[in-house]
Symmetry: C2
Subunit: 210 residues, 2 copies
């Protein structure tokens, strides 16, 4: 099981500071969608340069022109690129093909997918590397989480790695770890804490034991 730190509401210098504090306890650092839209893919490039020992995920949430976007993220040295589960199969295929060519991985974000079970099976058959259940900010705000959806994809996904994101904190991590995803994605649960390093250390420990 791996731990990914998602950075969304910071600029590049702030992102570097947070990662520096917790780098020994995380496996992957995610450059979130808002950072990429505000700063561009140089955010990915700069973080990878500063932390070559970490995997870097570019949260492009690609919806179209998928091969092109994966190519551009690869040029910025992303290791993993995200595409939306609600995207057309043609886009998913384009992303997977380009990622294979570039030696990168594709994570599909199931945010806003209505029939998680059916779509997860389809995506698994399309050869994506990770399938991620995700309750976004706008649904977290009305009290939703992804823990049930995680059980669903764990049951039906046979080839891809499984991932979970959306509002995970230290006090909910145990429940998530029990479901045995391959990747746990934490944003504010680390980045907004007073003691980021201590929190990340505890989370990594729980994940190792899980």
């Amino acid at each position: 099981m791996k731990l990914q730190l998602a950075l969304d509401l910071v600029n590049i210098p702030e992102a570097k500071e947070v990662v520096k504090e917790v780098e020994e306890y995380i496996d992957i650092v995610e450059i979130g969608t808002p950072i990429i839209k505000i700063e561009g893919l140089r955010a990915v490039k700069e973080i990878k340069e500063a932390f070559p020992g970490l995997e870097v995920l570019a949260d492009l949430k690609t919806m179209d022109a998928a091969a092109y976007e994966v190519q551009k993220a690869s040029e910025a040295n992303a290791d993993i690129v995200t595409i939306l589960g609600v995207a057309e199969d043609e886009s998913i295929k384009g992303a997977v093909e380009e990622a294979k060519k570039q030696g990168k991985e594709i994570l599909v974000d199931l945010i806003a997918v209505k029939d998680i079970e059916t779509r997860a099976k389809e995506l698994d058959a399309l050869g994506v590397d990770y399938i991620c259940v995700h309750t976004g900010y706008d649904l977290q705000a009305v009290g939703k989480n992804s823990f049930e959806d995680l059980q669903t994809i764990k049951r039906v996904v046979k080839n891809a790695k499984t991932a979970v994101a959306g509002g995970i904190k230290l006090d909910t991590l145990q429940e998530v770890v029990k479901a045995q995803p391959d990747l746990v994605i934490v944003g504010g649960g680390i980045a907004n804490q007073e003691d980021k390093k201590g929190t990340a250390a505890k989370m990594q420990e729980m994940i190792q034991q899980g």
Copy 2:
């Protein structure tokens, strides 16, 4: 009826050159999703600075954290911001509310929406400014277009303006104009032509007559 030039596969200096050539014949210039992801929102800011007489649309294709993304695009002087029709209603509401606060407009992109008619009605009720049918690059590549979907939304949308995008060229524009959308979005149909200015001029003329 307005004409929007969509710029996707260019960098900022190339975008400026293309807009300069056709500016008198277009109403809105769209900074496409790939440009924003590669260059960041400064692409929007620079184009608006260079062409203050044109409306600028930031094609964010927002999926989450909608109010935040609309706020950031507003700070970059976008006039119109896009959100995905497949996004959760909570996100659509957040985008509309923030756009109202900022004095901006929201265009919802129906790309990959399965039931266009139902979703268009719902989005219309949520108070968005534009509803846009859109066949993306990855489906254009397998021969799809948006002309039928345009008829569908023209029939059911009562309040929002209607828009159409995806593979529109000079020789297909007449069919599009007949359906009387409020906004026609053209990308390669202008940007990839030898005579961009002449093509844009002809298109604007057809739209005026339509």
